[in-house]
Amino acid sequence: MNLEEYRGVWVFIEQRNGKLVDVGLELLGAGRDLADKLEVDLCGVLLGHNIKDLSKDLFEYGADKVYVIDDPILEQYRSETYMVAVGDLVRKYKPEIFLYGATSNGKDLASAVATEVMTGLTADTTLLDVDLEKRLFEASRPAFGGNIMATILCKKHRPQMATVRPKVMKKRDREEGRVGELIEESISLQEESLRTKVLEIVRDTKKAVNLEDAVIIVSAGKGIKDEKGLQMVRELADVLNGTVGASRDIVEAGLIGHDHQVGQTGLTVTPKLYFAIGISGAVQHTVGMENSETIVAINNDPDAAIFNVAHHGVVADAFEIVPLLTEEFKKALQEEAKEGGVAHA
């Protein structure tokens, strides 16, 4: 493999029903920085049916080029078709870096493409950079092995690929009227020869939790021990009209669903107020909440790492302090509501 042949930064642009998924625009923001450092083009890869017009947005958010394949066969995401389409593009145009959002489909596609073109892929990265001297992509993520970050490199294979969590990178301000080059390609597959078919897409409209838009999040970790401890945290969240978040440990323990998980393999959140109750503060957790406006940590261990990222900390037994907090907030908020001052949102 001649590494010199590979140039340019690519972003997979996910769309659902003809609407762009935010993470694609966020990655154009991050990709722009990488492309500028490397002095190469930033390119979007847009697949689907009747989606060509979306390329306009991609240029305005920073893409120099957009590779489009518009074909009925690509209307719904399928590994089978997308993998071939993207694999063909990679072989033809040879990018050096390729970013995907770490969504269900983004991860599925990236994994398949990595094998299709035989290259390295780093999952769930939270920090991206390039080593200009060696012209190497540095994809970093919390490392398994403790409170530590690790940079993963892919020295001898191209493209260097990574999936990136939604909400970690920032999209750029839209630059109205910015234009770029649209490159249309086609796909050679026939529907009859395909082995999979999406029969139906069922959206859960009454989405139970919406952590990403929550103003107040009250998160629980292993320190709350069990169902009863979690209930105590729920009550505090209720009083504040907040949303319950969780560390991976209580998700894995089956106490609460994965859609509540904050962190590297959960959600990235930026509420105005984040309570971390009985959470030790492992980097896999903190990468998902460290940009919250105000972080209050409650932990009975004065050395807990969570106190390194929190703005306010209390060293206390959650089982003692949380019910008291709930009670005091209830009183205070009722009081204020009566006075017509602060109302309960």
Binding site: R78, S79, M83, T103, S104, D108, S111, A112, A114, T115, M118, T119, A123, D124, E138, P142, F144, G145, G146, N147, I148, M149, I152, L153, K155, K156, R195, T196, K197, V198, L199, E200, I201, V202, R203, D204, T205, V215, I216, L240, E252, Q264, K272, L273, V283, V287, T294, V296, D303, A305, F307, N308, H312, G313, V314, A316, L324, V342, A343, A345
Partner: protein, 274 residues
């Protein structure tokens, strides 16, 4: 129906302890377990066998002690287990892992076809979820990831329908067989193992293969050598100035938190129209 389940032995990350001074992992503190998602995959396979007949085989790449994870699968109900274990497999990233597993599956298929391959959604030591789709691509069969339900298996027409979890919802997807599924925990509850399974598992010894037992292996694609990704530098996460620690007894702590939160009035403003 012949079902092959790929399973991995992982350190129990829920128990593993980190030494806060050195930032390193105390590996001795972590017992090795069967990757929890893979337990669900085996359970699903056992359930399918109950309906459609056939055989459930598990395949694992790992060190010799990973045979314990295979025995756990036999407890759940697997018929047979294969461990591929060799120093030349060590240090593999997901690309090299899927290559080794693929070579083992090819060898197994010489005697018996495979109708369905199951994997976990991801292994909890890395949460990557890349191995399953990699194996599927190498076998040339469709991968269906994040499966929460098997809706229908139609052996006559060599077809199945599954629910695949996506952001706020799921898709109903149909695939021809053979195909590869990666399963979520929601797919089933892992039942308590009946006594006969436990007894069988206690006595069970899996077949162990080394690289030399596999056919047409390109050694360059195995282990560390076959892994395109490597770990570069490592560093502890940046520390901020640290929290303002609220001292005093619980009463004082409570009242300070309440007032600092209530000061942020915008948190409690009524939104228009509500």
């Amino acid at each position: 129906m012949n079902i092959l389940v790929c399973i991995k032995q992982v350190p129990d990350t829920k128990i593993i302890k980190v030494n806060p001074k050195t930032n390193t992992l105390d590996r001795s503190s972590a017992p090795a377990i069967l990757n929890p998602y893979d337990a669900h995959a085996v359970e699903e396979a056992v359930g399918l066998r109950a309906v459609h007949g056939g055989k459930v085989t598990v395949l694992c790449m790992g060190p010799p002690q990973a045979k314990e994870a295979i025995k756990k699968c036999v407890e759940i109900g697997a018929d047979e287990g294969f461990l591929i274990s060799d120093r030349r497999f060590a240090g593999a990233d997901t690309l090299a892992t899927s290559y080794a597993l693929y070579k083992a599956i090819q060898k197994m298929m010489v005697d018996d076809g495979v109708d369905l391959v199951l994997c976990g959604k991801h292994a909890i030591d890395g949460d990557t979820g890349q191995t399953g789709p990699g194996i599927a691509r190498r076998l040339g069969i469709p991968p269906l990831t994040n499966v929460i339900k098997i809706e229908e298996v139609d052996l006559e027409n060599q077809q199945m329908k599954v629910h695949r979890k996506i952001e706020n919802g799921y898709e109903l997807i149909q695939s021809s067989l053979p195909c590869l599924l990666t399963v979520e925990k929601e797919i089933n509850e892992v039942a308590y193992s009946p006594l006969p399974n436990m007894l069988r598992a206690a006595r069970y010894t899996p077949t162990i293969w080394t690289v030399d037992d596999l056919n047409d292996v390109d050694i360059k694609q195995l282990g560390l050598k076959g892994s395109p990704t490597i770990v570069g530098k490592m560093w502890p996460p940046a520390k901020s100035e640290g929290a303002n620690i609220i001292e005093g007894d619980v009463k004082k702590q409570v009242s300070e938190i309440v007032s600092l939160v209530l000061e942020k009035r915008e948190l409690f403003e009524v939104k228009g129209g509500e």
